[in-house]
Amino acid sequence: MPEGPVPQARSVAFRGGGFAPRPVGIVGPIVFVTLLLLWELGSRTGWISALILPAPSAALGALEDLYRSGLLFKHLGASLERLVLGWCLGTLAGIGVGISAGLFSLARAGVVPLVSAIFPIPKIALLPLFIIWFGIGEASKVATIFFGVFFPTVIAVTGGIDNVDRGLVRMGQSFGLRWSSVVRKIILPGALPAILSGFRITASIAIILLVAAEMIGAEFGVGAYILMAGNLMATDQLIAGVAILSALGLGVGWLIGRAERFLLRWRG
C-alpha cells in the first residue's frame, strides 16, 4: 500500500449527522418541575394573582381535601363506571360495524358516508337531544361517551382492515384457506395494530367527553366536580380536577401501551 510522502494529504471533511433529535430523557421532567416551581413562585410572590391562576400548591391542597373528604373515590368511581361502560359498548359496536364495513362493499357503502357525516358533530350540541332520548340518568352519560367512541372506532377498524397487506390475503386464498380462516387469521391480526392505536384515540375522546357527559344531572363524577369548580370559580379545585383527568388519560394510555406490547410483541 502506498504510504510514501504524498503531497497534501487531507482528511475528508465531516458533513453528516444532525436532523435526528432524540428525547433527552432528563430534560422533560426538568422542564416540568421548573415550570411548576416558577408558577408556584409567581403565585407566592403575587406576580400571578390567585384570580388568574391558583398556585400548584393550592390545587394540590384541593386534591388533598378531596381525598380526605372521601369524595375523590366517589367521583372517580362514578366517572370510571361511565367511562368503562361507554367505552366498552362503543368499542364493541364500533368493531362490529367496522369489520362489516371493512369486508363487505354494501355495508361499507351504507356505513362510511353516515359515519363521516355524523362523526364531526360536536357532542355538546346534541346534549339537549340526549336528555330527551336517554333521560338524565346514567343512560345519557354513557350514551354521550358511546357515541364519542363508536364513530372513530368504526373508522379505525375499517381503515385497519383496508391496510392489511392484500398479498397476505392472496397467499391465504392460494393455499385454499376457508373464508373464515382468512378473516380470523390474516385480516383481523393484520388490522390489530390500527385497531389498538384507534383505542388510544377513543380513550382520549372518552375522557374528554366526560365533562360534557356529566353536564347532565350528575352529582358525582370528575367531570361534575370540574363543572362545579368552574361554577363556583374555585380555580384550585378546577385545576385539581383537570389534573385528575390528565392522570386518568396517562393511566389509560399506559394500559393500552401494555396491551400493545403484549399483543403486538411480534413487531419486536
Binding site: 394573582s49 339537549p128 333521560g135 344531572g217 352529582e219 361534575a224 362545579m228 361554577n231 363556583l232 374555585a234
Partner: protein, 315 residues
C-alpha cells in the same frame, strides 16, 4: 361624558337598566353607557372581575362569593327581592310527583330537585326550603342540568320531581298543566335575589362615578315600581313601559306574544336599590356551611356602603 359598560340579561327583572338607558337617566348623569348582554348570570360576575364591564346585576351564587373572596367585587345595592304579596320565584312539582303526593314545598324532602348548577341561586333556594321545613340537604337529590331549558324539560317529562322557576315561565307551565305550582319562594321569608355590583377598584377610585350611576339607576327603579308593580293602575303607562322593555326582552317575538310574558315577569324590586344586608349575610353563611365557599371573608367585606340604603343590618 364618561364611557362605562353595564352587563345585562334579557329579563324583565333587569328592566330598570333598560328604562334608565332609554329615558336618558344615565346621560343626565354624564355617563355614556354601553349595554353588554349575557346569556347567563355567572359570566357577568367574571366579566367584572376581569375588567370587561363596570357594573352588573346578578343573583348571589357560590361563584360570586368565591370571586369576591379574591377581592375583585363589591355589592353596591339590591334589586329583585322576594316579598310577600308579590309574585316571585315559583316552586313547581312535576305532574308525576304531584300525583304521587308532593303537593307542597314541605313534601319535597326525599325528592329530586332540578337546578342549573351546584352553587347556583337555585341551589340556595333549595337550601331555603330545606331550612324552612326542617330537612337536611342530603334529604333531596340535586340534579344539576346546566341550563334552565333543561330544567324545564326534565320536570315536564317527569324525570325530576321539583324545581324553582321564574313566574313568567312557571305560570304558563301550570296553566298548560305541564307542571304544577306548589308554592312561592316569597312565602318562605325575605330573600335578596339579585344585587347591583361593581369592581372593588371602582368603589375605591371612582366613587363619584359609582354614585352617579346609582342615582340614574334609582330613577329607573322608581319608574319601574310606579308602573310595573301595579300594572292595572295606568294601562297606557304600562303599555308604554312594556313596549320599552320589549326592545330588549323577547325582542325576537312580536309584541302581542311578548307582552304577557314581560308583564308576568315583573317581579318586586327594592325601592331605591336598598339592600337586605341581613339576607346577604345569611346567604354567605349558607354557602360557607355547605362547603361551597371557603373564605374568612364576612358580609361586610362584600358590600360597599354609601351608594344605597342598607336595611336589616346585623348588629
Amino acid at each position: 361624558q364618561e364611557k362605562i359598560t353595564v352587563g345585562a340579561l334579557r329579563f324583565t327583572s333587569h328592566a330598570p337598566t333598560f328604562i334608565a338607558y332609554e329615558r336618558g337617566y344615565f346621560k343626565q348623569e354624564g355617563l355614556d353607557v354601553e349595554l353588554k348582554f349575557f346569556q347567563a348570570a355567572q359570566p357577568v360576575a367574571v366579566a367584572i372581575a376581569s375588567g370587561d364591564i363596570d357594573f352588573g346585576i346578578t343573583a348571589l351564587t357560590g361563584g360570586y362569593f368565591n370571586l369576591a373572596d379574591k377581592g375583585a367585587l363589591k355589592i353596591v345595592g339590591g334589586l329583585f327581592a322576594e316579598k310577600k304579596g308579590y309574585k316571585g320565584m315559583a316552586i313547581m312539582a312535576s305532574n308525576k310527583a304531584y300525583a304521587a303526593g308532593m303537593t307542597s314545598p314541605a313534601k319535597i324532602k326525599g325528592h329530586s330537585v332540578a337546578i342549573t348548577q351546584v352553587g347556583s341561586s337555585f341551589h340556595f333556594m333549595t337550601g331555603m326550603i330545606a331550612a324552612k321545613y326542617g330537612f337536611a340537604m342530603s334529604d333531596v337529590s340535586l340534579k344539576p342540568l346546566q341550563k334552565v331549558g333543561s330544567m324545564i324539560g326534565a320536570v315536564k317529562s317527569g324525570q325530576v320531581d321539583a324545581m324553582m322557576m321564574v313566574p313568567h315561565v312557571a305560570i304558563p307551565l301550570d296553566k298548560a298543566k305541564a307542571a304544577k305550582i306548589i308554592g312561592w319562594m316569597s312565602d318562605l321569608g325575605p330573600y335578596q335575589v339579585t344585587t347591583i355590583f361593581t369592581s372593588t377598584r371602582n368603589t375605591a377610585e371612582r366613587q363619584v362615578q359609582v354614585k352617579r350611576f346609582m342615582r340614574a339607576y334609582k330613577k329607573g327603579i322608581a319608574d319601574y315600581r310606579a308602573v310595573m308593580l301595579n300594572q292595572k293602575k295606568d294601562p297606557a303607562a304600562t303599555e308604554a313601559m312594556v313596549k320599552l322593555i320589549h326592545k330588549y326582552v323577547y325582542a325576537d317575538r312580536p309584541y302581542e306574544k311578548a307582552a304577557p310574558g314581560i308583564k308576568a315577569g315583573a317581579v318586586y324590586i327594592n325601592e331605591g336599590a336598598a339592600l337586605d344586608v341581613g339576607n346577604v349575610k345569611k346567604q354567605l353563611d349558607w354557602f360557607k356551611a355547605q362547603g361551597l365557599v371557603k373564605t374568612k371573608m364576612t358580609y361586610k367585606d362584600l358590600i360597599a356602603t354609601g351608594y344605597a340604603d342598607m336595611f336589616d343590618v346585623p348588629k
